[in-house]
Symmetry: D2
Subunit: 356 residues, 4 copies
């Protein structure tokens, strides 16, 4: 039986490179040979044991690769083809996916499962490895257009899909004003996404100089440095007391969640992307006692090949360039060092590229 | 100067019948002679001093009446015509109203004000009086179709508009399952509204026998008595563990808000109508750490003559009959007794009709 | 090899009962033993050669049955279970289905095909037979709730799904006025659907007495008999010159399509369900020279198990009862007589039930 | 009584500069002193007598100016303030405007009138004059941000609002492919609008070199020159046979309307902006016999101060620059020459600026 290298969760603070069998390919699966992958903030939650997965599981959910082997029932692809798959791999026949919520799809029972579409590196082996098995391949493999490099498309599976979703769910109209709290990789894509939906004024809240610079490149029209000024006060000042039409939360804390609500005009949308780690509070006043016609929407990264197809179009068109988010590069053999860097957010890291 | 009787807020626990001048009519106003009005839960918040208004203000925001006098600039109506006006009277030229959020309209500055469309009995004199002045009359007067009694249309200005909004904002699809927490007058209209939008299974949560009975008349398919069973457990049982597609909160407490979230399937909508009196908590698990594709929407009663026109259509068609919600009747002279009854929810009261 | 009886298209005006092999079951298929099916207007188009299918194909696309055999990869069902499948069986992993347009799904190429989701009795063998093979069974089999008869659920696969879609796509608001042109089975379900979405006044246009009576049972508030009065004039009179908010076309002719446009208010929706057989004309005036903010939407019957699940909920709730649409019953052995009756619309027929 | 110069419609082929009284200002009006205006394609329809207006009417509907005098009831502005008003001036209290369709608002009767929001130069005196009276000023005056020139904002009242509406109504998703037929001023803004909504591939159909060049500046990703190739074939080739997600018609002919339908994928949107002058035909095949899940939407230029506010934001942000569309400049005194140039589309004209 062929063997491969894989980054495996062993226990809190322990993700190690190990050797595992190359997986068998079932009729509806595809085996990808990974050419590039990356580490996500969620992987750090796993590493720290804040979101434990099964010990022995291969982690990672952002695959760029080449089809090594196709299951017998998978049509419309060829072996050797370059593809990506989304971080989320919906079960296309689940009730959830058929309702348009593939990220919440469950295989059994009533067909819904919170976050059930997130399988790679969560409930099945992930892609920080030499090979990954893609389930429901016919719904999840997205061919990469010729001429695009691995690093150009590396953000599509998760970062771009999530960040854009934050903007898409925010109900943005052409000419609107939008605040985006935090300019990590997902916040940066939310900034780009808000511009793609027609926002005229995107206010990016951040303090790290490299991220502020990246935010400007992604289209931010104004920057609020939360260490230099109170972001709520400053945004209300920038909007002449009106507030923003939409506020996007891209960090996952009470402070940013609450600030979003405080800068929203009545009838505005709080679009939440962060992964929270504690109960949230909705302050009575900012929530207008429930009478402000506010909407709060949360989004889990949309997946599936149609979603990926459109994101690849964005890259191919040149409208958004996420390649510069890759600030560091590692061999799979050195992934433990990559984790060490990324977990500690050292050296101005935004994203790392991992190549087997 | 002509005088009239009016129910006036004096201070906490003191709403009294007083005498005030009949108001002058400006060019864009209309003066209504009230024929029937009612008391709202919000009036009780005012009475108790929880939501204080300016002492001396006439309270009440649910007018049925006859046009006594039209402002010089108000066209398309005639004196003597029977009309209603919504509890909310949008400022039609405000940026908020032009954005579709008339309930949040501000006259000055940037044109938005939280709850700014609620003027009667809040920022201007209300309609628990012999006469009320309707601002922006051309946008707010809605003629009552012949053949409908005052009591048949008495719920349109607030209760029906609010309750239906809870259902309209919930994204209900034909065949969906919806839970409605609390079956006071607004919850009852949310139940009726959920059926009007095509929900197949509306689960009403209530314990008061008269309200349970009213819920059935409004179309509830199942009743959960929260004193006999845990409503979250029971709704999950009724839905085979799937949860509901939408949950409507119609009380205004942490307990019901949270229960709504706990019974929602991923991707579902929590449609909140309650007026809260404290910060709210979003429990991490029920909120799926922000990854459940949940939406939380709040609605303030929509107003304006077009909204009222459609609600009057509902009444005229016979599709929903809210007249039975009127359980008690008082003369304006006895309004202090009506407040006493309603504030204490005595005698199975749902709504009182007040006639000058 | 086991044999079964099946109604087969031979050529124009010739659908005959024949004997064919019971199909083999592939990994993602299910074999249903048909217990009840029916004949659709589309089958008559096939019969007449207006919409020819491959000679030898089994026709019919409205199956109620029992699972005889499940493919190896189909989980979540059991043999012996009562189910329906939609007339449309989306390919769940196609780009079209993943975009929410399963009715237009293509297996190959770019993943879109006009009407490609309509497979039964169009591109694969249909269900006017003792057995039918359901492709992509995991996405298409919908369990029938206990206690519902075959005839109660017989309209779900096509008639109800199509008719309701006409109402769902019409953008109906609570309190709206809607006209439905033609009250055949689909128009009747559009009438019921418009009420389910909250229309207060549904104006049904029809002339056949049995259909007028059925329209009233389905909730029509007003009837316009197009033989007694000009329907456009009459609808404009009924709406005081305002026109309707939405008009649903359920016949498939220039005359009704155009009448829909003529009775629409500006900003209204023409929701088209008919199958047309000639080019259509948009009259300049009725179309306001393209400046009336009109929308014209067409719908092909939505399918898939989630759609069916919700329609079955509607039936189970008792909100809409389509069983009375079954006016005639035949054995499969006599299906040629059933076609003769239905094609000629004799004897007040609405729908026939066919039982093997 | 003060006099002013105004371009007046006299009869077919005769728009002449005349002298008229400066209008009186009613309580809800504002008088603008025009600083810049322009000529629209619709004005040419008027000139040619294809769309006759009342002889003696001042034409023009794209005002940039300064508030000369405010009506007594108009608050929130000051005399001397720079403003624009939309080509469409909704009646804010009409049922149409309160339904979100201000462009179709009627003052009397049921409150709807096809194109009723288009008043300037259609039903009331327009703005190709030294002064124009703005009705319902509180809903229609939009302050111009400091630092923007007249020519920078000259397209907001009509061209940009209309062109963007074509994109907004097209249901564009991030990553979509959109075709825009004709790159006159409105088509150019539709191209820009499609990019603002996130389309990755905008295919502009045009043949005039200056317009092709302008289309590229507005963001077109591909150009199809309909004189060099069949645009339907070419677009199908560019999309690998898939078709486009949305097609925007910006000319007003059967040929372009039909081509839009022929390049649409099933489930796509034909967004129509053109002003047609004859009945339109929907070809049976391209319309998929009514079964393609197609949508056809038409838009009349949205107006009102909130719409203008957001368009001014777009200009102020620098996201779209329409100033280069002004290719020629005339004094009001020479407006007859400007009409001559524009009507004959001589000298590569896109738009003319007229200054009193």
């Amino acid at each position: 039986m062929a063997k491969m290298k894989a980054a495996v969760y062993v226990g809190p603070d322990r993700i190690v490179l190990d050797e595992k069998p190359v997986p068998d390919v079932g009729p509806s699966d595809a085996l990808l040979r990974i050419t590039t992958t990356t580490i996500c903030g969620t992987d750090i939650h796993i590493l720290k044991g804040e979101y434990p997965v099964e010990p022995g599981l291969t982690v990672g959910h952002e695959p760029v690769g080449v089809i090594e082997k196709l299951g017998a029932a998978v049509e419309g692809y060829r072996e050797g083809q370059r593809v990506i798959a989304g971080a989320i791999t919906p079960i296309p026949h689940s009730y959830a996916a058929l309702s348009g919520y593939g990220s919440q799809s469950g295989a059994v029972g009533h067909g819904w499962k919170p976050m059930g579409g997130w399988r790679f590196g969560n409930t099945i082996d992930g892609c920080q490895a030499e090979y990954v098995l893609v389930p429901d391949a016919a719904a999840n493999l997205a061919p990469v257009p010729d001429g695009l490099s691995d690093e150009q498309v590396l953000m599509c599976p998760d970062i771009m899909s999530t960040g854009f979703a934050g903007a898409e769910q925010a109900g943005i109209r052409i000419g609107d004003t939008v605040a985006v709290f935090a300019q990590g990789p997902i916040g940066l894509c939310a900034t780009a996404g808000a511009k793609l939906r027609g926002a005229s004024t995107v206010i990016a809240v951040e303090t790290v100089p490299e991220r502020i610079e990246a935010a400007r490149r992604m289209g931010a029209d104004a920057i609020v440095d939360f260490r230099k000024t109170d972001p709520v006060d400053e945004i209300m000042r920038l909007t002449d007391g009106r507030g923003v039409d939409a506020a996007i939360e891209a960090l996952g804390t009470q402070q940013t969640f609450e600030a979003c609500l405080r800068v929203l005009r009545p009838g505005g949308v709080l679009s939440s992307l962060g992964v929270y780690s504690a109960d949230l509070k909705l302050p009575l006043g900012a929530f207008a006692a429930g009478l402000g016609d506010h909407r709060i929407v949360t989004s889990l990264c949309p997946g599936g090949k149609e979603r990926m197809r459109r994101l690849l179009n964005v890259v191919a068109s040149g409208d958004v360039d996420t390649a510069p988010l890759v600030t560091h590069r590692y061999r799979l053999d050195d992934i433990e060092s990559a984790y060490e860097l990324f977990a500690n957010q050292r050296d101005g890291v935004l994203k790392v590229a991992i190549t087997p």
